[in-house]
Symmetry: C2
Subunit: 475 residues, 2 copies
Amino acid sequence: MGTRTAEVMAAIRARVASRALASGDRLPSIRTFAAVMDVSPSTVVEAYDRLAAEGLIRARPGSGFYVSTIAPPLTLAETGPKLDRALDPFWVSRQSLDADPAVAKPGCGWLPADWMPNDALRRAVRRLARADDAVLADYGATRGPLALRRLLSRRFAGEGLEAGPDQILLTGSGTQAIDLICRFLVRPGDAVLVDDPSYFNFQALLRAHQATIVGVPYTPAGPDVERFVEAATVHRPRLYITNSALHNPTGATLSPQTAHRLLNAAAAHDMTIVEDDIFADFEPEPSPRLAALDGLSRVIRIGSFSKTLSASIRCGYIAARPDWIEALIDLQVATSFGGVSPVAAELVLAALSDGSYRKHLEALRRRLARARRDTAASLRMLGISPWLLPRGGFYLWCGLPDGRDAAAVARAALRENVLLAPGDVFSVSQTATGFMRFNVAQMSDARIFAVLERVLRASEREASAQAGGSLRAAR
Amino acid sequence: MGTRTAEVMAAIRARVASRALASGDRLPSIRTFAAVMDVSPSTVVEAYDRLAAEGLIRARPGSGFYVSTIAPPLTLAETGPKLDRALDPFWVSRQSLDADPAVAKPGCGWLPADWMPNDALRRAVRRLARADDAVLADYGATRGPLALRRLLSRRFAGEGLEAGPDQILLTGSGTQAIDLICRFLVRPGDAVLVDDPSYFNFQALLRAHQATIVGVPYTPAGPDVERFVEAATVHRPRLYITNSALHNPTGATLSPQTAHRLLNAAAAHDMTIVEDDIFADFEPEPSPRLAALDGLSRVIRIGSFSKTLSASIRCGYIAARPDWIEALIDLQVATSFGGVSPVAAELVLAALSDGSYRKHLEALRRRLARARRDTAASLRMLGISPWLLPRGGFYLWCGLPDGRDAAAVARAALRENVLLAPGDVFSVSQTATGFMRFNVAQMSDARIFAVLERVLRASEREASAQAGGSLRAAR
């Protein structure tokens, strides 16, 4: 297809996207649009025919072309900026969820199954086999079972966050918790702030809500507050989504000063904050929380048990203002009928209440501390440097040796059955090209380091060959 | 608050809703708008102050009022037409999900827990306790476990529907399946057809997507095809959502002729059909299915196991075109990370594969046939007449004795701890005021009929008293 045809197609697509041409409208005549675009009529004919084949427009014989009355389906992988598929936020998710067992997954976002409290889970399952018929067969209450909400309420009180069981809504997962909040607060085109870098699925989720995603540069003490205020002023965002403790992907912790200034900035710009606390149980000691500082006035706390208990037993939660919880319940009933599965809530409650859970967490923290230290040392041997050494959790956010393109490295490694998480999938501004997120719990296989070394060496040769090529071309 | 103030507020709200006044725009000055609305300036001041208190607009001192840059949250119970709360689609859902155990629930949409295959469920749970760590602790594949998709694929083949395991996507519930499809295909303002009457949560879900909901009158053989074509022509809908077999709330079955004509109409108007097959296992023998006739070209099949297996173990499915499944996977990853819980899928698979499941279904069908017959007889004694006698399932769609308002009857019954489902919650056009949906499996308690009789008698007295009152008033 010629460039001119593509330009004509792009011009029509832009007019449809901006609603300058609405559903059912007649397109400009071939002759008119050829003059507008300064192309030949045959180019416009080809462009219109191709758009008709795609379904965006339709020909009515003897009358011209019309915008189809049916909007094209929302395909997320294409609605964001044009990215190489390896840099798409879905790439890492789908590759890691659907990976063959032969693939090592230092790029994934969870612990290996044998690091999880499986004995406690099995005890919870055996207990479930003796539960009432209603637990096994019935729908649950709209907020989720009271016993689990009470337990969460007590845990929150322990960190200074007052939230009664009625202020807690159990959901199908942590992601579903944020999704419900977005349904409630975010309309297409609304601006939403996220950290840059931040968890890639925040971007995917916000694309599904057709939000305008604005990145705020992240520092080792939290988001850069000046840039946060700047973004708030320019974009008037509806929402800011963040992890305060053990931030994904950097492992950083929000400082008290940053937390205080952030909350003031959010208040000045009338912004809601979603604090995703999914990594809380990995912390060696508690760190500042926006929800606790704010008292759930403009902060919504969400979380889940996928990282420390089970990702198979799906359960998330929202703690928020009572009037918001009411509206969120309606939304959850409308869009998934029940919220959390009562069976799942029962298993989570039993496992969390199991005497062994606290010990499991302590052992897990020690094990992860060792894994972070050892992995950091091994990565440094390859010239890969952690941006900081996190206080807890399983992520290391690392700079690659100079000039290396993390996406190219990730693609090459996947050919050798090692799944990596290249920096730009976390970066709204696409400025983390030289970074990579490593999951230290998924790196016990020495093969991973061998592949990394080989792939980095090859990318070095490629980089210098390309530099040589450009030099030659420049001569 | 005066009527004039309310009118001014409504006028501003309408301008904001239609974007005639966009986010950040300055409102007309007090003086100007008082002239426009033909009211006193103080009325406009009061209206603006009230709107500012609600957060829709904001005052900037010395500069006037501006539309808040933050859209109001989406509260579903208010976004539909103004309805009495008893007629709100959420009323029945929330009342029945959160009902006190003392409340009898002939209005709810599920079987009592002790009618479910609890022995098979317990066997499945005990088996789960011996599963691999990965099943208990890990995320699952994006489509859901292959074994369950294979089983569904074989079941579909048995009814003449070809859908390989890759064309099947497991979801968190049947409602989530439809929700994902709406995210994929429906944009705010798009028209969607539903049967009138139809399952009330279709309306709730479509409100969450801000779709325009268009009802098509339902006949004992399926939707009225002429009215369907009329609605398709006028509203150019994106989607039609229906139950073909054992339609909710009527229990009717789609006839082969209606199915064929519907598909042709959908093709002529380039419409997608979602066929919700959740009641399939209650059918004594198979009836026509749009998905089978169409071969999953423009029909999407969805379903779940909540009605015949367990509503606690959440699992739904989508069978659709392969390219659509790919896009739906991205949407599901973005909005709930994993799809179905692997633990839930394992339990469903084990229970469906249990030798006892088929026998359970046979016994259940016989038990329901008796309950339908007995309940219909008891209801007729109270002057309540089934619209038709369904071939299967647990619903009876009934006309109340003449002139009775089902919503008033439902409100009165709830005061006596009996939850009913009044007709208009199912009706987009609000023309089922004299109808009620009864769940025959939830009516073994004789108290229900006593309450019904009492409440009907009281509403009769009320109706005649009102008639008398109007007569007196007219004199």
